[in-house]
């Protein structure tokens, strides 16, 4: 099959550092292969900028296979772009048309300050995890996994919650920049398993209090978080979290 290429107009958010104002810069790219991923397209842009002696666009990425949660970006208003169940690194340029204008912005939230260009500081997620997203395990050899019975439906739901890669798209998409989907996924993953029981009474409360202290908003149940989630984590995890604070 012959390779298809498209030309694009890019409006990319450039911001020198956390304190600078920042603004959009216009770039045009020709002959972008539709087989490229979005990040590869950004690589091509950066190669071009470097050749022109300009500062390349800073953006986060690591695994480029949809599992690490490092890539971010809001593409034409949508975190991780227009496709559902996808990270930016797994988004392909075939989703765009020749001549398209693409706005590329950082995830925006008070609790995710911009570090530079499209890179934001998501360490607030780490601090929420530290507040309660853990279990206590004794040292020594792990006991046989089958010694602890777990009902299959619970195991499945816990697993689904545990697929959260902590990318922050839920926050980026939420009109309130709420981290409820993230926090509730972490809470659910432990609440459903026997290993999570010792700290269960306080976990949701502690993580919620930390989430609020970090400056994330409240949940309005709009569902945009779940739609933007690359792992399609369900809104029902939020309902579980709402029950967990009574444990």
């Amino acid at each position: 099959m012959a390779e298809k290429t498209i030309s694009l107009k890019l409006k990319v958010w450039r911001q020198k550092d956390a304190k600078s104002e920042g603004g959009f810069e216009d770039y045009s790219l020709d002959s972008v292969s539709t087989d490229m991923s979005f990040l590869e397209m950004m690589d091509v842009l950066n190669d071009k900028l470097i050749l022109e002696g300009k500062e390349p666009v800073n953006f986060d990425h690591d695994c480029r296979e949809g599992i690490c949660g490092m890539c971010s970006m809001v593409i034409n208003g949508n975190p991780h772009g227009p496709q559902t169940a996808t990270t930016t690194c797994q988004l392909h340029m075939r989703k765009f048309k020749d001549g398209d204008t693409i706005y590329i912005e950082p995830f925006r939230a008070t609790a995710f300050p911009v570090v530079k260009d499209l890179v934001v500081d998501r360490s607030s997620f780490d601090r929420i995890q530290q507040a309660g997203g853990y279990i206590s395990v004794n040292t020594g050899a792990a006991q046989d996994a089958n010694a602890i019975p777990v009902p299959k439906p619970d195991a499945d739901e816990a697993f689904e919650a545990a697929t959260c890669i902590g990318c922050g798209a839920c926050v980026a998409s939420c009109k309130n920049a709420s981290a409820m989907l993230f926090v509730s996924a972490k809470v659910s993953q432990y609440a459903l398993l026997p290993q999570g029981q010792p700290e269960r009474k306080d976990r949701a409360k502690k993580m919620l209090a930390k989430m609020e202290e970090e400056g994330f908003g409240a949940c309005s149940n709009t569902g945009s978080c779940s739609a933007a989630c690359p792992k399609e984590i369900s809104l029902s995890t939020i309902a579980r979290m709402n029950r967990e604070i009574f444990k």
Partner: protein, 219 residues
């Protein structure tokens, strides 16, 4: 870190959700009561007379004021917090599947219009001077005549229809949102709950709309 229920966003939302659901129950019964307009003037007046001459009405009214105030206070406090959680907004709005519904994005705006409407509504119907009428030998307020007079004005009819239309949107998101806030929500029941919520909102909204339109056209 100390956890305080009412200081937490979930606590505030749950207070708001309980108040919201009780208000939702109130608007449904209010709408159904108003349907007596289609039965006749005497029935309508008698219903209103029975309602306001029952001493329990003061308890019910105090409850309604409390639900309204707690709902509004929590709504405003949360909305201010939510606004400050994103200081810089996006240049482009979300689109397609990642875009949230209109009703869910504008809850506070619908709420503010509803609040203003409720005040005007009380001034127009509750605290207005009414003529007297006699039904089955009992003298009572002629609320029916007042309603008929007020809805001769197209401005009132249009204003009323817009306000209850916004209430329909508010409830079509609000009912399922409140259920989720209170923890009654699951992946399997999701579409059913959302569907029922929209039906609830529009039954209330369209029911309320039918009354002024009927009066305007047929009286």
């Amino acid at each position: 870190m100390k956890f305080s229920y009412l200081k937490s966003t979930i606590g505030k939302k749950q207070v708001m959700a309980v108040a919201g659901l009780l208000l939702a129950g109130f608007v449904l019964t209010h709408m159904l009561g108003n349907m007596l307009l289609f039965v006749g003037a005497d029935m309508y007046n008698l219903y209103s007379y029975k309602l306001i001459s029952n001493p329990l009405i003061y308890l019910a009214e105090a409850g309604l004021v409390a639900f309204f105030l707690s709902h509004i206070v929590m709504g405003i406090v949360l909305s201010i917090r939510n606004k400050s959680s994103r200081q810089k907004s996006y240049a482009v709005a979300a689109s397609g599947e990642k875009k949230a519904s209109w009703s869910s994005r504008f809850m506070i705006h619908q709420g503010m219009v509803i609040a203003v409407f409720v005040v005007l509504h009380l001034l127009t119907f509750k605290f207005a001077d009414k003529q007297q009428t006699t039904v089955d030998g009992v003298v009572m307020d002629d609320l029916h005549q007042l309603v008929v007079d007020v809805f001769q004005s197209p401005v009132y009819v249009i204003g009323y229809v817009i306000a209850v239309g916004l209430l329909a949107f508010h409830l079509s998101h609000g009912v399922h949102s409140a259920l989720s806030t209170l923890g009654f929500y699951s992946e399997e029941k999701k579409s059913k709950i959302e569907c029922l919520s929209a039906i609830y909102g529009w039954v209330v909204g369209l029911g309320f709309m039918s009354q002024p339109i009927y009066v305007y056209l047929f009286y």
